[in-house]
Symmetry: C2
Subunit: 153 residues, 2 copies
Amino acid sequence: MPNISQILSHAEASCRQRGTNLTEKRKRVLTGLLQSKKALSAYDLIDYLRVEFDEAPPPTSVYRILDFLSEENLVHKLKLANKYVACSHISCDHAHEVPQFLICDDCGSVAEIGVKKNVINTLQNSVEQAGYLLKSPQLELHCVCQDCAERAA
Amino acid sequence: MPNISQILSHAEASCRQRGTNLTEKRKRVLTGLLQSKKALSAYDLIDYLRVEFDEAPPPTSVYRILDFLSEENLVHKLKLANKYVACSHISCDHAHEVPQFLICDDCGSVAEIGVKKNVINTLQNSVEQAGYLLKSPQLELHCVCQDCAERAA
DNA sequence: GAAATTATGATACGTTATATCATCCACAGT
DNA sequence: ACTGTGGATGATATAACGTATCATAATTTC
């Protein structure tokens, strides 16, 4: 696993290639997500920026930055948890299947898994039979991680 | 499709059988969801109660009632949309597969579908391989309904 | 170096949800 | 009837998440 500064360089190059700009502020938000290794809310990130960088950006700015990072596929938005997480494939060069997220309801840890294509296809078929169009096959699943399951036991 | 008062009687009987009590207030919240035929937020329901029944319950009460109705499987909570919807099988007697929800991001309409058991199993296996436990295989999918898709076209 | 574009800040507010403590109500046992 | 008990609801305040609007700063481009 590459270290954070390598990931940042990679992300920066990727943005430049797409004609966008990974600014210092955007880098700091991304760094926060990479360091925490779990999903954070926008307000968690504001706290992080205050503590680590003595910044106090308004929510507006942080949400804008998170939107930007999502657009660049550096970060995923987890609607189910109202949180944001660094893409686990952030430093890969190849394209990926649509990510599926497992969110631990207890501790907030997030695992990103792939599922077989035919599962998604079956799902998509069911959706279309109901007269709907799937906007995004990105699933977010309520889970409990092993650590929390053991702690509870 | 049974009418609303039939559904209410059925729900009331179901609660009684489980040793719980479908009070008038709870009935009115359920009625609101049944009438609207779509997902409503807790605050939508407060508005509904004010308009239809000249009540002004605090959010606390409405959330409590929604929790109760969820426990009784009369209502489903859609975390993805922060809304609540009457269970479409509310008046059936038989057990059901775990519901899957299609949420129109434009108009908020919700379809409830079943998916084949093996799809869920496959998913569950992937989750377990990642060291997580699936708390609920209830999926909520971001969709666009046919009406909205046509309107946009 | 002025104009245009991009990025960020300030302020205020809207929406969703919960914490805490108080009150009401129905019903059981005496 | 009296009372205690548990279930149900209300009142109040506030937390957490998110957005609208307008202003300002920084960067690029000509």
